[in-house]
Each structure stands twice: as C-alpha cells, then as structure tokens.
Amino acid sequence: MSEALQSAEPPVQGNPSDQHQTAHPNLPPVHLDAFEGPLDVLLHLIRSQKLDIFDIPIALITAQYMEIIEGQAALDLEVAGDYLVMASTLMQLKSRLLLPRPQLDDEGNEIDPRQELVAQLIAYEQYRVLAEEMDTLPRAGRDVFVRSIFPESDEVERPLPEADLDALLLAFRSVLKRVGGEVRHQIFTETISVREQMAFVLERLKAGGMQLDELLQGYPGREALVTTVLAILELWRQHLITVVQSECYGSITLLPQTAEDDA
C-alpha cells in the first residue's frame, strides 16, 4: 500500500539535462522474467512513475534500468543481448544530451536524440495495449464454445469426412504436449514399428493359437524378426496374449486371450 503510494508520486518533470543522477529509491523491486524485453521495462519505469514519455529524463531512467539489469542473478544469454543493447543505447543518449551543441536537422531545427527511442516506445506500447485487449475478446474454446459433433436428424446422411494427415499429426502433437510422466516416457521410447507389429500379431491370433515358428516365418531380415519378437513380448507383458511352452526347448505356442476365454 505505502509502496504503491510512493511510486505514484507527483510526475517527475524531467528535462534533457535532468538533475536526478541516482535511481528512484522507492521503486518496487522487479524481475526481468515479468517483462517482454527492454522496451517493456522502460515503459514500466515511465508509466509507473508517471513520467512524460515525450520528455524522458534519460539520466534517471538509465540509472533505474541499469539497477534492474544488474539486480538479476543470472541473465539468460539469449535475452541478455537485447537488454544489454538497450543499456548501451541509453548510455549513449545520456552522453549525447550532455553535449553543449545539439545536432540540427536540414532545416536548422534541434534534433532531440531521444526521438528514435520515444517512437519505438510509443509504437510498442500500442501493440502491448492491443495485445491485452485481444486477450479479453471472447475466445472460442475458452469463453465461448461451439458444437464439436454434428449429429443431424436421422434423415440426413452425412458424408464421411476426409482424411488429413497434417491435421492428424498436429492432433497427436497436442496430445503429446499435454501428457506427462511415465506415459510420456513410454511414448517417446517406443517405436511405431513395434506397435504396428503388435496389432498385426493380435490380428493373426484372432483365429486361434499359433506356433511361434509359424508366425515368424516369412519375416526376412533380422530387423523384422526382432520387431516381431519385441511385439510378442510386449503383448505378453500387457496380458494381451498368452505364451505357452510345454517343455524346455519345446515349441512355443501363442494364444489369444480372447479365443481361450470365449470358447
């Protein structure tokens, strides 16, 4: 409460060669993670202290900015670059403002060295505000919902939907992004070929039991063989089939669980 009041002090009426040489002592501490970059930090400093964006007290802002940057325990290298570039821009501005003779444009008017930064801040601030407004629009799937299945009256014959591989892969991607823990681990370590083979073996066993040798016949190549054996082991592990070996080194029979039970 008191903090808020203090930071909402009367507007600082800065001028190019402003007298504040030290950081505002009452700014609440901030963490860079809360910001979207250097422009966001500067806007925060300007707006929270009700400074005039068209007449930014550069010395004050630079000091405050540097304090925030230096206050960060560890800067992510990827983001650090953008923050450091801004730091040097601010320092340059500060020294240019101290020059006795200001730069003039073609018509002899004074060029305010802060102009470019101000333009950048205003442009960014607009989008920052618009982004917030956009987030408040009633969003499908968050605030409003549409029908996702379309059963019509029985008289309507709805044609079959078309296959779309990209959409299918995107759908699985979003499932993968949501799941976690062991499930995720399992999904990432298994290969699709074992899964495919599992379905195939189950299918072949639908009619009844089968000798392992018989099932493995017609699998040329070591890889296919290994995949099939892995599939059988996985099916067995998951209690999807029964593996029977009547005697040591005897032939191995694979039984579908269902056939046995249904009989």
């Binding site: 299945i149 019509e152 009256s153 709805r158 379905a199 189950l202 669980q257 269902t258």
Partner: protein
Amino acid sequence: MSLALPLLHQIEALILASDEPLSLQRLRDLTGAETTDIRTAAAEIESFYADRGIRLVQVGGGWQFRTAPEFAEVVQGLWQTRAPKLSRSTLETLAIIAYRQPTTRAEIEALRGVKTSSNIVAGLQERGWIKVVGRKEVPGRPHLFGTTKQFLTDFGLNSLRDLPDSSQLLDEDEIQQIITDNQTEESELKDAEAQTTESSNEVYDDEAEA
C-alpha cells in the same frame, strides 16, 4: 416459466457444447441443480424448439440438439460442395489409436484427459479407419483398437512406419518444457497408467528374470 432462466440457459449452452448427448446425471453434476428442475428445464427447452429449425432430442440416454427432420434435404446440401471436417476430438482419438495401437478407450481417455464419447469411436469404425483387434485381459475386458488398411490408404501411408516417430513431432525445447512441467504433476498421472501398464509390468519382469 416455472424455472429460473439461468438454469434453462445453462442447460441449453451445455447441450450445444457437449461432445456427446448429455445425461440427466451429467447435467446434475455440471449445474448442481435438482433432478426435477433439470427435467422441467429440458421439457421447456424441448417445447420451445418444437417448431423451429433446431430440435432438442433424447438419444443414447441424453439430450442433444439436432436439426429438424423436415430440413433434411436442405441440410444435406451443406456437404455437396465440401466434405465435413474431422473434429479435433476425432483427430486426437484417431492419432492415439494409430500411435498406441493396440489400445483401449481407457488409455485414449487417459492421454486426452477427456472422456471420449462412444460416438467418436463408432464414427471412426464406421469410417473404416479403426477396428477392434482384440480384448484386453483386465476387468471388463475392454476392446483393443488398431488402425486398418483403409486408414493407411486414406492417409496416404504405405505402412504405420511412415508416420514420424513421436519424438520427432516435438522439438528439443518442447520436450524439455514438458519434462519440467510434468515433474510437478507426476503423481496425478500415475493413476491413469497404473491401470494400463504397471501391474502387467511387474508380472513381465518376474517372468523375464525367471
């Protein structure tokens, strides 16, 4: 107008958005209202739509909005120029079956985090993209689903091996992100898997060592 409007409108919204017909039980859970009030509201909605283009009908143990039968012909026209799209829930269900086959509805639901309506599974079967390949030997002996040849043909695949590995669908950053996110939720997910894998895991491990 015997009822507070909000309940009636809540029910209307719920039925529109639901993936499956909404049963009385579900409506009670979702709205917290009494059975009699829900029945009254549903009856009011039904009579309200009785002579419009939309009907509230009772199907498969629940309520659902459907188009009025007298407009069947005009509605049919919708798909003459463009085939209907696959819904997100259908796509997710199909993708899980493709990648995790043979798999059960329980596993699909565990992965999707949502109840998967039987409409979706039935629709995929009807489309000829999935089939029952067996039953799982757990209580209830649920069906095990797998994809079909038709699925491969329609999606332009020679074999399931043409599908990219799941690890290729996400990049390193995303996988890392998931790992971080999940470390906190790990325990919640244990339940879902326990049913499907863990118990059988132990059995297998024992036997393998023997």
